[in-house]
Subunit: 437 residues, 2 copies
C-alpha cells in the first residue's frame, strides 16, 4: 500500500458527505519516534499509559538503541538504530525529537517527501526552515506540526492558529526559556548567578554549555516562530540580536526592587506602521505585571490583539511530560483530521528599534562630574531622565548606580551609550535594559 494512501486522516471520508468519525478510528496512525531522550520517552509513556484512540507507537529510532529499550512499551514496537529503515517503514508519522538542524532536517525532509507527516519539537529547525518544510509537506500530502517547539506544555501555537486567527496580533511578549527564568527568579530571591547555574545544570535544566539558553539563542528561535504565526511575518532569526542574561548581577535585582520591578529574560516583538521590531534579553518588568508571576522554569506568552486585547498563556514550557503532551496533542489532531489554519505570512526584516523606557546601570570609580557627563550625553540625544538612584553601602572605587530614562528610541540610547563608554571612570560598559510597562 503506497504511503500516500496510508497517510489519510481518520475523517478523510468527510468531504464526500459521510458522517464524521470523531471518535471511532478506522486505522490508527503508526508512529515512529526519532530520539528517545526525556521527551521521546515521555511521549512513549503517554502513548502506552493513555492509549489514545487512533495512535499506535510502532518504531523507536535512537543511536545505540539497545541501552534505550524499555520494558513497559508494547512488545511489537520496533527498536532501531537504522534511521533509513525507519524512514522507509510503514510508519505514517515521524516524531522528531533529536533537535538541531542536521541530521534532523535531513530526516524530516525525507519523511515529508515520502508523504509522511512529521511532528517535531525542533524550534531551531522550524525557526530557520519552517516555511520551506510546510511547503514540502503540503506538496506531498503530509502535514508538519510543531506545537511542542514553543513553550512546550502551553498550547500557545494551537491557541494562536485555532483561536486567535480572527484577530490581528500586534505585539508578543514572552518568557520562552525556562532555564533563564529559573536562574533569574532564583537570583531575585538572592542567589548568585554561578550558584544557580550550577543548580540548574545539576537538575538537568541547563546544559554543560549554557550559551544557547543564557545567550538568548533558544528564545529567539521560539520568538521567530511566534512572529510568523502571530504577526504573520517570516523573518531570519539571526536578525534578532539576543543579549545574554550573564550581565545581570545581584545589584541589578536590588535596584530593580527599589523601582517596583524584577528582571526576566523577555522575548518581545511588535509591529508598528509596517515595521517589525524584535529583541531578546534581560528586561525590567513591573512586579505587578504577569511576566513577573513566572517563577522557576515556567514559561509565559502574552499576545496583544487589535480586537481582543491581551491574552496570557502560562505553564510549564519545558520538561519531558509537558513537551510530550504537546507532541501527543499534535498526533491526535493529525489522527482526527484537524488541519492548520494557515494564514498568509510575508517576508520581513527585523529592526531592533523600540521606543521604551530604559534602566541603565553604571559601575564607576567615583569622582566628581560623572553624573554631569552621563546626563550630558543623554541630553545631547534628547533623552529625558526619569530617575537617578544611588543606593548606599557600596565602595567609592566600584560604585554601582542607576539612571532610568523616559521612552526613547533604542538607536538614540545606543549613541548616548557610545559616548559614555569613552568616560575613563567606567569600570565596565554600562548595562542598559529595556523596561516593560
Amino acid at each position: 500500500m503506497p504511503v500516500s494512501e496510508v497517510n489519510v486522516s481518520l475523517s478523510s471520508q468527510e468531504p464526500s458527505g459521510q458522517p464524521v468519525q470523531d471518535v471511532h478510528v478506522l486505522r490508527p496512525l503508526r508512529i515512529a519516534i526519532f530520539g528517545f531522550g526525556t521527551v521521546g520517552s515521555s511521549v512513549a509513556r503517554i502513548l502506552t499509559e493513555s492509549q489514545p484512540e487512533g495512535l499506535k507507537l510502532t518504531h523507536v529510532f535512537n543511536r545505540g538503541v539497545a541501552r534505550k529499550r524499555v520494558d513497559w512499551a508494547a512488545s511489537d514496537v520496533v527498536w532501531s538504530e537504522d534511521s533509513e529503515a525507519v524512514l522507509t517503514s510503514d510508519a505514517d508519522v515521524i516524531v522528531e525529537l533529536v533537535g538541531g538542524l542536521d541530521p534532523a532536517g535531513v530526516w524530516i525532509r525525507r519523511a515529508l517527501a515520502a508523504g509522511k507527516s512529521v511532528v517535531t519539537a525542533n524550534k531551531k529547525l522550524i525557526a530557520f526552515h519552517g516555511v520551506e518544510l510546510e511547503r514540502l509537506a503540503a506538496a506531498h500530502g503530509g502535514h508538519l506540526k510543531y506545537g511542542a517547539a514553543v513553550a512546550g506544555g502551553i498550547p500557545v501555537i494551537p491557541g494562536l492558529e485555532q483561536g486567535l486567527a480572527g484577530d490581528r496580533i500586534d505585539r508578543i511578549e514572552g518568557i520562552l526559556n525556562g532555564t533563564c527564568n529559573f536562574i533569574l527568579s532564583k537570583m531575585e530571591e538572592g542567589a548568585e548567578y554561578a550558584t544557580v547555574l550550577a543548580t540548574a545544570q545539576a537538575r538537568g535544566y541547563a546544559e554543560a554549555d549554557p550559551t544557547e539558553d543564557v545567550g538568548g539563542f533558544d528564545a529567539r528561535a521560539k520568538l521567530a516562530i511566534l512572529m510568523r504565526l502571530a504577526l504573520r511575518v517570516e523573518v531570519n532569526p539571526e536578525e534578532i540580536v539576543p543579549r545574554p542574561i550573564t550581565t545581570i548581577s545581584a545589584v541589578d535585582f536590588s535596584y530593580a526592587r527599589d523601582l517596583g520591578c524584577t528582571i526576566r529574560q523577555v522575548a518581545r516583538a511588535q509591529r508598528t506602521d509596517g515595521t517589525v521590531a524584535a529583541t531578546v534579553g534581560p528586561m525590567l518588568v513591573d512586579s505587578r505585571s504577569p511576566l513577573a508571576w513566572s517563577r522557576g522554569t515556567e514559561n509565559m506568552v502574552i499576545l496583544s490583539g487589535h480586537y481582543g486585547g491581551d491574552v496570557v498563556f502560562s505553564g510549564h514550557g519545558a520538561g519531558g511530560h509537558p513537551t510530550a503532551v504537546a507532541v501527543v496533542s499534535d498526533l491526535l489532531a493529525l489522527a482526527h483530521g484537524s488541519r492548520r489554519v494557515g494564514l498568509p505570512s510575508a517576508k520581513a526584516t527585523v529592526a531592533a528599534e523600540f521606543e521604551v523606557p530604559h534602566y541603565i546601570r553604571f559601575l564607576v570609580d567615583d569622582r566628581p562630574g560623572i553624573v554631569s557627563e552621563i546626563t550630558g550625553a543623554l541630553a545631547r540625544e534628547r533623552i529625558n531622565i526619569r530617575a537617578i538612584v544611588q543606593k548606599p553601602g557600596y565602595p567609592q572605587h566600584a560604585l554601582p548606580f542607576v539612571v532610568t530614562v523616559e521612552p526613547c528610541k533604542s538607536s538614540a540610547l545606543q549613541r548616548a551609550l557610545e559616548q559614555m563608554k569613552l568616560m575613563d571612570c567606567l569600570l565596565e560598559a554600562p548595562l542598559d535594559l529595556q523596561m516593560l510597562e
Copy 2:
C-alpha cells in the same frame, strides 16, 4: 447546487492526495449572522475590516433589522428579519449570536439538519444540548463550533482540543463570569455591592436582572462545557449547584485580606477516583495565586493536567470584540478544513463533595458561649479548626467573626452548619466559602 455540496471545506481535496490549499481559497464560506447586537456587529466589523481570506458575510438576520443596518458593511449583504429565508438561503454557515435555548436552538437544529455548519457563542444551549447538536452536525456533514461560548476572547477551547488533548486533565478552576469578577474586584478595592452592580449595569457589563451572572448560572453553563472537553464527562448543568455572590459583604473582604486572600467567583470541577465534583460560587483565593490576578471583567481558566501540570489562560472573556475574535477564528478554522479533535466523553453525575479548607463567617448578637457551641458542632463532625479571627470595631449586637477550618468534606461541614443554624444568637445563616489553595 445542493447545500451538502456547497458546504465542503477549502482543503477538501486533500485526502485524495492533492496539495493542501492553506492560503489560496477556492470559494469563500458564505456567512449568515443571526443576532446583530454587540457581538454580531463586531463579527461583521472584523469581517469587513480584515477581510479574512475565505470568509464572506452574506446575510444578517435580526428582528426589526432596519434599525440595525449599518453603512460600513458590503452592499451585497442581505439584511433580513425572516429567519426562514436566511436558513434556507445559500449561506454555508450560520453564526448564532441570539443566545438562550429557544428559538436559537430551533434555528441551529434546522441549519445543521440542512448540512450547514454553525458557529455559536451560546453557552446555555451548548451546555445543555451540545452533545446532541454535535451528533446532528456529524450526521449531516456539517460542523458545530463554539469557541466563543466559554471565556470569549481567550482561546481555551481550541487550546484544550488541539493542544491539551494529549494530557489527562484532572482539575478545572476558572473565573468564567466577567460581571462577577468586575463586582468582586471592585468590592476588594472598597466599593459596596449595590454601587458596583449599578456601575456594571450602566457600563453594560450587567443585565437589568443580574441573576444569571451573580447567581452563578452563567458560569455553571460554561463550566459544564469545559468539563466535557477537559474532564471528558457529560453532565447535566443543573446538577451543579451555584451559590450567589450576593452574600458577600465588605466585612468578608476585610477578613479575607487578613488571611492573605481575596474573594472571586470561581467555577471549579475535579475528577477523583471515578467521581466528579463541581461547584460555582464565591471563594477565598490566595492573593499570590493566579486567580487573584484577574481584575475587572477579565476571565481566567486554570487546567491541571496529569502529565503537563497547570496551564493558565487569561484575558478578556466577554465583550463584543474579544467574543467576535473567537467567532471569526472558528469561521477561519472551518474555512481551512480544520476539524475538532473529538475525544470520547461519558455521561456522569455531579457531586458537590470537595475536601478543602473553608472560611465560615458568622454574624451574631454576642453572648458568652458562642465559640464553644460553634467549635462543638465542628468537633462532632471531626472538623479541625485552623483559625478563629475576630477583628475589633464591630458592635456587640451585630458582630461578625470568622472561623477557618482545615480541609474537610463538604457534606460534613454542611451537617455542622445545620447544627449551628439552631443557635438563637445567629443574625443570619453562617456564610461558608471554599478556600482555594
